[in-house]
């Protein structure tokens, strides 16, 4: 019988085969393989291969200056950890430090100098040559005379050796201004100098001698001190140890230090001075102070016939202080008694990175509290310390004075240079902008990225990134003795990067090299033969006298070492004016104490009080590793600048819902934010970070940062700790 194949048979065979093959592993294996082929390819990064080594350096991301041990492959760091036994961090690092070796690969890094042109809501970035930038600076510098404005240099990391270089050059300029952020410790110490009959000089803290810390919104447990100082305190939290340090955090914000403190005392924003006076009132009223010391030390404590400190303090009864601050009178009284009973105690002000300074009068009030508590006595926890020795030619007489933003007249700066190589404390641009001569000023920034204040400059010159630059780490404010360390580069810098000192040297028509400058400084320190040196390689500390030469000292410092000065044995006798020495001191202090909090001020029903905050080393966007998305977006552990946090009752009152988007608005602009509800936040306020906005791996385009500090009204006087804004649904 002949076999006849019809078209139908063929179709049936093919159809059956297709159906049948589906029950065999063939198509599924093929599918699996295709899937695997698409999953794996040359686009999957290969891990580096090569020699494994270990290097040491010092972290320059924040003023602490932690020792860093880098595990390297082919000489490139791939894992950072703290240097064992290092006096600053004793083997630990913060999350920013752990990922700091990624900053060199940040997608927003500038590769060439750029000109930034701003339009109406647009930003145009055009590459230019370094010579073009220098020509512009030269013209503007020539114009920066008294008639056409001053030449100002904003140093975002003051206290470095290069800062001395800047100040020296500015002192030679007829209209040179050396400008720092208002939260800089130099300015805070100036408040104490204003009280002392003779300048007190740099201040340090013996925290290991303290049993109670009263922190006025300082991030005491979150970046104010060194890890070696705060880790023991944090380890003994919730323990029953009698000698464990007790931290009382006075803060309007539910900050990380407020969360971690033994006691959190929330107060109405901007009433820190009143609370300091209220606590001082109880100490004086109940005779809890050393009358002999106060009699000898304080000329303005009680002046018959004149306004004196006791008159001022007499007004701040617990009940009156409670009305001003919102803190109950019982808490005020018990806090004052606790500080004395659980001494030695110390009060710390200083402000913080994002939240800004407390204000001069509040700082003076806090220093007054320290004098009452005996913290400035010879056995007290606040000590006078020396600065690290400086080379010849850099004495204070030869340097331009350190100035805060409030000391500079409006519309007076013709040329503003910003050293943003190591972005430190932020400064609201609106405050800085009003100091510039409108439409005639030139702003040039030296920065690795177009972020922070650099994004407001007309020209930005790229500088080496973290771990590519050679720089020194000045003494942190909390240290009882002077220290000095060097952050030596662990990575080779790319072509086209210029150290800020080279730009500034050309501006001032002089010679300047970071390595030469730092070698001069280390030689000056070595010449004193004072102090001891920590050696990172061995984890040991030896007297400096054991080192044979300045070169050996330099080698140790550039290999992750650290110099620590000898402590000053005796503290000279000081007399302090509790209210400062200004002629109108009494009235100024009274006004500061009686100031009405923005929470109590005249308000329209829709207004809320914004409390910005920021963690040191995380405020600027460029400071963060791209991997920081883990910390901010993926875990929500740290809040970025795009998250506004409110009390549930406040959210309900304003019809705002957790998880929705909102628009935060002031007279200066608007910002889109995500709304979060947190029962621990004070009713009536919005807590929002001043940075950062983490940038994921695809964010390699130039972006204009929106930051809460951009919304600050320049007409509102410093400090910017609290200001009014509206928040509505997006």
């Amino acid at each position: 019988m002949p076999l006849t194949l019809t078209r139908r048979d063929i179709l049936k065979f093919v159809g059956g085969s297709i159906a049948g093959i589906m029950v065999t592993p063939i198509p599924w294996k093929l599918l699996d393989d295709v899937s695997i082929w698409t999953q794996n390819g040359p686009w999957i990064p290969k891990v580096p291969r090569g020699a494994l080594t270990t290097s040491f350096s010092t972290c320059a991301l924040c003023p602490a200056g932690c020792g860093v041990q880098a595990r390297c492959v082919n000489g490139i760091p791939y894992f950072l950890s703290g240097t064992r036994n290092h006096p600053v961090n004793n083997g630990t690092l913060c999350p920013s430090g752990v990922a700091a070796h990624h900053l060199a690969y940040h997608p927003l890094r500038l590769k060439t100098p750029v000109q930034v042109t701003r339009g109406n809501g647009t930003i145009e970035v055009r590459p230019v040559s370094l010579d073009d930038v220098l020509r512009k600076i030269s013209v503007a510098s020539g114009n920066s005379t008294g008639a056409k404005g001053s030449l100002a240099l904003l140093d975002q990391r003051p206290g470095r050796t290069v800062s001395l270089f800047y100040r020296k050059q500015l002192a030679r300029h007829d209209h040179g201004i050396y400008l720092v952020s208002p939260t800089d410790p130099i300015l805070i110490t100036q408040c104490l100098d204003e009280m002392a009959e003779t300048p007190f000089g740099p201040v340090g803290y013996h925290l290991e001698n303290v049993r109670t810390i009263l922190s006025f919104a300082a991030p005491v447990l979150d970046g104010w001190g060194t890890p070696a100082q705060t880790s023991p305190m944090l380890r003994t939290r919730h323990s029953s140890e009698q000698n464990a340090v007790k931290v009382i955090q006075i803060d309007s914000r539910h900050s990380r230090s407020a969360q971690l403190a033994d006691q959190w005392i929330p107060l109405k924003p901007k009433t820190e001075a009143a609370l300091a006076f209220g606590i001082a009132h109880v100490i004086i009223r109940d005779g809890l102070y050393d009358k002999r010391v106060i009699g000898r030390r304080i000329p303005d404590f009680n002046i018959p016939g004149k306004h004196s400190y006791s008159d001022l303090i007499g007004r701040f009864t617990p009940d009156h202080t409670s009305e001003l601050t919102g803190v109950s009178s019982d808490v005020i009284v018990s806090t004052a008694h606790s500080l004395v009973a659980r001494g030695p105690s110390v009060a710390i002000g200083d402000g913080d990175s994002g939240g800004g300074p407390l204000g001069k009068e509040a700082e003076i009030a806090i220093w007054g509290l320290n004098i009452l508590l005996g913290a400035l006595e010879s056995n007290g926890s606040i000590v006078q310390r020396r600065e690290a020795p400086v080379p010849e030619g850099f004495s204070s007489k030869e340097l331009s004075p350190v100035m805060g933003i409030s000391a500079i007249p409006d519309h007076s700066i013709g040329l503003l240079l910003i050293d943003g190589s190591d972005p430190g404390d932020p400064l609201p641009w609106s405050l800085l902008e009003r100091k510039l001569i409108p439409r005639q000023s030139l702003v040039v920034a030296c920065s690795p990225t177009l972020t922070g204040l650099a994004q407001h400059a007309q020209y930005v010159v790229p500088t080496p990134a973290h771990l590519e630059a050679l720089t020194d780490i000045p003494t942190i404010v909390s240290s009882a003795t002077a220290t000095f360390s060097i952050s030596a580069p662990l990575l080779k810098r790319p072509e086209g990067m210029t150290d800020a000192i080279e730009i500034m040297a050309k501006v001032f028509e002089t010679e300047g090299s970071m390595e030469d400058l730092l070698k001069q400084r280390t030689s000056a320190i070595f010449a004193t033969r004072r102090g001891c040196v920590f050696k990172a390689g061995t984890g040991t500390t030896v007297p400096i006298t054991e080192l044979g030469s300045p070169d050996e000292f330099w080698t140790e410092l550039t290999a992750g070492g650290m110099w620590t000065d000898d402590p000053i044995r005796s503290k000279p006798f000081f007399q302090f004016h509790f209210m400062g020495r200004a002629p109108d001191a009494y009235q100024r202090m009274l006004d500061a104490g009686e100031a009405v909090s923005p929470l109590d001020g005249p308000l329209t029903p829709e207004m809320l009080t914004v409390l910005p905050y920021g963690r040191r080393a995380e405020v600027g966007g460029a400071q963060l590793s791209p991997l920081m998305t883990k910390l901010y977006q993926e875990s929500g552990l740290h809040r970025s600048s795009k998250v506004a946090v409110l009390n549930p009752a406040t959210a309900k009152k304003f019809d705002l819902v957790h998880g929705e988007q909102g628009i935060l608005a002031t007279a200066c602009g608007t910002q889109k934010v995500g709304i979060r509800v947190d029962a621990a936040v004070m009713p009536g306020v919005i807590e929002i970070a001043a940075g950062p906005e983490p940038i994921g791996q695809a964010g390699n385009e130039i972006v204009q940062e929106q930051n809460i500090l951009e919304l600050i009204d320049p007409d509102q006087a410093l400090p910017w700790r609290a200001f009014r804004a509206t928040l509505r649904k997006a």
């Binding site: 794996n40 999350p95 890890p227 919730h238 539910h254 998305t629 791996q697 390699n700």
Partner: protein, 257 residues
């Protein structure tokens, strides 16, 4: 390896929640050590890959009395009835009998995500995208850990690369027993307040074994009977009460005690 001559270990952790400050150094060190790629700009708590998360919890009281604790949460290395092992159709999850560590084998994983559903701790993460780093950053990857591909699940493995290193060191000295100081996971190494203790729970002299028996010790969801090898310590009763709660992945879903 010759089972008869090698000591069997049960690696585990004890995390002191009264010490943890929520700094996140452990979380970052984990991501750096294990070559976990950065998230995309739109990444969130559901699409990101974070082997270790630190969850902020509050005691439920209102301002100003609210108290906060931080709970580092990673794979709890379940010992019995390990949920992810039992549901995996590809045999891509297995418990190492020598160490007790629950391992994930990306080459076998087909990305079905049953294990993610089964995990009561939400400690497993799916790679939604190809692993990518900003240009040049691949030079700074850990040479001991291969990046995982798109479409597979991954999780904490107590820094397996470091275990291999420690074994290699021991082998170089002619020993089969590793020195405990040679094997320390990245999160333990990086914790600034030494809140995390790691070691062999079978070794009674080890700190971790002693802490696991402390009155302050508890385990999350122990009622499920999976015998996790990560212990938590707290003297605060409201924190201990959280042990029976299923923790959300982030602050966005705050858990109240």
């Amino acid at each position: 390896m010759d089972q008869a001559t090698v000591k069997q270990s049960r690696y585990g952790m004890a995390i002191d929640l009264d010490r943890c400050t929520g700094c996140g150094a452990c979380l970052m060190a984990c991501a750096v050590e294990n070559n976990v790629s950065p998230g995309r700009p739109t990444v969130n708590e559901r699409t990101g890959t974070t082997w270790m998360r630190v969850i902020e919890v509050q005691d439920g009281r209102a301002f100003p009395a609210a108290e906060t604790a931080f709970i580092p949460m990673m794979c709890q290395q379940c010992e019995e009835e390990t949920p992810c092992v039992s549901v995996c159709p590809q045999n891509a999850v297995e418990v190492d009998p020598e160490t007790g560590i629950v391992g994930q084998i990306p080459q076998r994983c087909l990305g079905c995500r049953y294990c993610m559903t089964a995990c009561p701790y939400h400690a497993r993460y799916y790679n939604w995208w190809d692993p990518q780093w900003p240009e040049g950053m691949e030079k700074a990857l850990n040479p001991d850990v291969a990046p995982r591909m798109r479409g597979v699940v991954e999780k904490c493995n107590f820094c397996h690369g470091r275990l291999h290193d420690a074994r290699a060191k021991a082998a170089a000295k002619g020993s089969r027993e590793i020195n405990p100081t040679d094997y320390i996971p990245a999160c333990v190494e990086s914790c600034p307040v030494q809140a995390i203790t790691f070691g062999d729970l079978n070794d009674e002299a080890a700190d971790v074994a002693r802490q696991a028996k402390s009155e302050r010790a508890f385990r999350f969801l122990s009622r499920l009977g999976t015998e996790p090898k990560v212990y938590y310590l707290s003297g605060r009763s409201w924190v201990q009460r959280l042990a029976d709660r299923e923790l959300a992945r982030s602050k966005k879903e705050t858990v109240h005690g």
